[in-house]
């Protein structure tokens, strides 16, 4: 009952379109992929399923970023870290599922540990062969890190670029740490050559299609959670923090607690996105922690429309689709196109694609609408 009320009261029109389209995709794509024979014009190729599944996880990451940046004004240059940590937790589970089917046929140790002469499984890996434990870790590790980091940072009132740069320092430090082979996470090669997940062959097309649907569902769930947060009463305060943090504090709100809440939820969301990403792309390696990846996530949100949630997801899909296409179609010059796109969007579509589209739509309707709470206003940096 609550849910229905929530759905009908809190979801705006763009949100409905978004959810319906995703719902259709979650059902239709696997069907078109598995049931329609290749060669038919309705067939969705395996490659496309994998690709769009990847975009879905990126879109979830973008929603997580938009939640903290678009609504709470926290520009995180380190969300890639939470994404990668979730991915590593999933990767470790998948790695242990290989079992004795590794190239060295070692009963317990992953291949990279065998040829680096590790004698036993490091403590950090214990329990990861148990799927529920791994899934808890997918949420817990990024959540806990975000909680501890946020607890200190928000309490010390680290804001603005200072916060952005220390989040960057966080992901950079993690990247360097995971690059070290001594850490026991596979160093630069990371974790790869996965065989199966919960007993299903990870290379089978059914598994892929299911993973795609799961990613879509996770994206829908992520959107609903984020939407629920920003339209709640707490959401109003969160937006107030974005627009005038000192003033909100002077009004008596414990700003740091609200920030910490959004921040941790967002990190968990990013972690889940990472966990869904890994089985679909088949590799997780420390370069996922690289600061450039986190900046790219910011770029998706900005391109799609900051503070719109749907726009963030759209931006993630669009930029990554452009990237996939450009790297194949113009391998020599795609960076010009991508860089040009970012400059163009910033200069000419300051509210992002969705924000601009909404404005245009409203002006065409020529009837004044109450300004949505989610419109991309100009927050203090």
């Amino acid at each position: 009952m609550m849910l229905t009320r929530f759905l009908f009261e809190k979801i705006d029109r763009a949100g409905w379109v978004f959810l319906v389209l995703l719902g259709i995709a979650a059902v239709l794509v696997p069907v078109l992929n598995l049931a329609v024979p290749p060669g038919s014009m309705f067939h969705v190729s395996n490659t496309a399923v994998g690709l769009w599944g990847k975009y879905m996880t990126y879109a979830l990451l973008a929603i997580a970023v938009d939640l903290v940046w678009g609504y709470c004004g926290i520009l995180s240059l380190g969300h890639g870290a939470f994404f990668a940590l979730g991915g590593y937790a999933m990767g470790m589970y998948l790695m242990l599922q290989i079992g004795p089917r590794g190239v060295y046929a070692h009963p317990t140790l992953p291949d990279f540990m065998v040829f680096l002469n590790w004698q036993e499984l490091p403590v950090a890996w214990w329990g990861f062969s148990f799927f529920p434990y791994a899934m808890v870790m997918v949420a817990l590790v990024p959540g806990l890190l975000a909680f501890v980091f946020g607890w200190f940072a928000f309490r010390s009132r680290v804001t603005g670029v200072y916060l952005s740069i220390i989040t960057q320092a966080l992901t950079y430090a993690l990247m360097l740490a995971f690059f070290r082979n001594d850490m026991g996470f596979g160093g630069n090669n990371g974790l790869t050559d996965f065989k199966d997940i919960l007993g299903f062959n990870i290379q089978s097309q059914t598994t892929r299609a299911v993973l795609f649907s799961l990613s879509v569902l996770a994206l829908m769930a992520g959107y609903l959670v984020a939407r629920a947060i920003v339209t709640s009463k707490a959401g109003k305060i969160i937006i107030a923090i974005r627009d005038a943090e000192p003033r909100t504090r002077f009004l008596g709100y414990r700003v740091e607690n609200f920030k910490l809440f959004v921040w941790t939820v967002s990190a968990v969301m990013a972690g889940i996105a990472g966990a869904l990403y890994v089985p679909q792309v088949g590799i997780i390696n420390p370069s996922e922690f690289s600061p450039a990846n986190s900046i790219e996530a910011i770029v998706w949100v900005a391109v799609g429309g900051r503070g719109t949630l749907v726009g963030a997801a759209l931006g993630a899909g669009l930029v990554n689709f452009a990237k996939s296409w450009f790297t194949g179609a113009f391998p020599q010059g795609w960076l010009f196109a991508l860089g040009g796109l970012f400059i163009f969007v910033t200069l000419f579509l300051p509210k992002g694609i969705l924000g601009t589209f909404t404005d245009w739509w409203r002006s065409r309707q020529r009837k004044p609408e109450p300004p949505a709470a989610t419109s991309a206003s100009q927050p203090a940096a």
Binding site: A153, S156, I166, P291, I298, G339, F342, I343, P350
Partner: protein, 564 residues
Amino acid sequence: MNASTRYGPGIISGRLRPRPYHSALRGERIGYVGALSSCLFAALVSFFLILAGPARAQDNAALVQRFATESFNDIVGAVNGLATSGSPRAAPVIEALRDGRLVYRASDRAVFIRRPDNSFVNALTGDPAADIGTTRPVRLNNNVRRAIDAAVGALSLLHPDPARRISAAEAVFKSRDGTALAALEAAIGQERDARIKTLMEEARAAVVVANPQASEADRIAAIGIIQRRGDQDALAMLGSLPATTPPLVREAAESAAVGIRRTLAVWEAGQNVWHGISLGSVLLLAAIGLAITFGVMGVINMAHGEMVMIGAYTTFVVQQVIRTFAPGLMDASLFIALPMAFLVAGAIGVAIERLIIRHLYGRALETLLATWGVSLVLQQAVRSWFGPTNREVTTPSWMSGSIEIGHLAITANRLAIIVFAAIVFAALLVFLKRTPFGLQTRAVTQNRRMAGAMGIRTNWVDAFTFGLGSGIAGLAGVALSQIDNVSPNLGQAYIIDSFMVVVFGGVGNLWGTLVAAMTLGIANKLLEPYAGAVLGKILLLVFIILFIQKRPRGLFALKGRAVE
């Protein structure tokens, strides 16, 4: 091409003993031993000739012919044979070999010297030889080079050039060649320069210590001399005594080595601090332009690293032009590159400001997006234009090599960069604090509207300030081209560190940037020997994160309205 040379331990004999490593010459810049005028060399050889006794002329032909081989062992033998023969052809032949100008004709094993004008002379007679047919060069490898160094070294103890005498003394110190003793004694007798004399005495001591015929007392006294030298060469010397050394001598050598190690450990700490200052100055240079565009103007300038890269590529282009049109100016190339890099990077900076950034004031975080795009475009532009591979930037001779102060090795390029960073920093400080333009810049960044109301053209100041920051990044690129890759990725390597430095020091405060760069540099280098390069860096990043909790606005927080 199928060199069937066997490298057995047998070649480590005669003049080719295992040799300790060679450190920088004390007080002298090292470099490739410059060409020596043939006649001087010949005169010295004739001096050596008298010492060595006359050689039989008919042997010369056989000696020179030994060079006509593909076997490095035989070439080493030929060098040694020729050097000790006292033949008047020794000097020109060995010199030609050193410079890669010795060739031979495979058909009859005749050996020729290629002169700088590409004509040939017969190596044996020195007569011009025309139409010599196909020849192959006599090849060099490290063993041959060592043999040449030893041969040339021992022969130039009396050279009029002090630098040559120093390298000769060092060569003997390392070779511990008993046959050089007589020449060494004679040289010590004549030497006027106290420093060189000390070196020669050390070399003599090295010969004596290694000489099984010398008395134990002499050898222990010699160990004392070597201990006074006290550097890593001395340690190497003491650590490699022949197996037949009597126990007493061995004990003295070991206790001397312990003493040297103790002293060197202290110097090592100093060396680490020096490395830290050097790294700090690199960080300062990389970050100082960002301290203006980001720190002062508030633009999250992700294209900063690309400005550094453009500065480095400007250096490359300037050097290419100089190489083509005025090769003599190569040593001054960096001084020409500096203003050019400033102008090129500065102009691109102004263009970026006018075209993009100026539309984004008040939307600081969106500058991140736009400059990220700019950075991608610039990287790819450079990659398309110059190619993806590294470009060679020549290091001027005055920036090569190292000097030693005490036991501190100071590399010339690092010293130059430290001095340069200091100059740039001081100049920028004076510019911002003491010039009308600096005043306007500070006014605009502190309170844009008020500054505008006072009649300052804020647009113009913005463009110029961004250009200044970018120009300084270009200057940093000139310096970094001397120590790092000149590739399209150059900027990416420094952008994160630069942001860390600026934020750690406190945004908007130049002194903060200086202190932050030096702190991070020195801390990094003090940690590295114990924690390793990666862990050291991780520790520093964690430290920055914790430090910002303690001081949320960096080391030197800016106060007043500009903060919010």
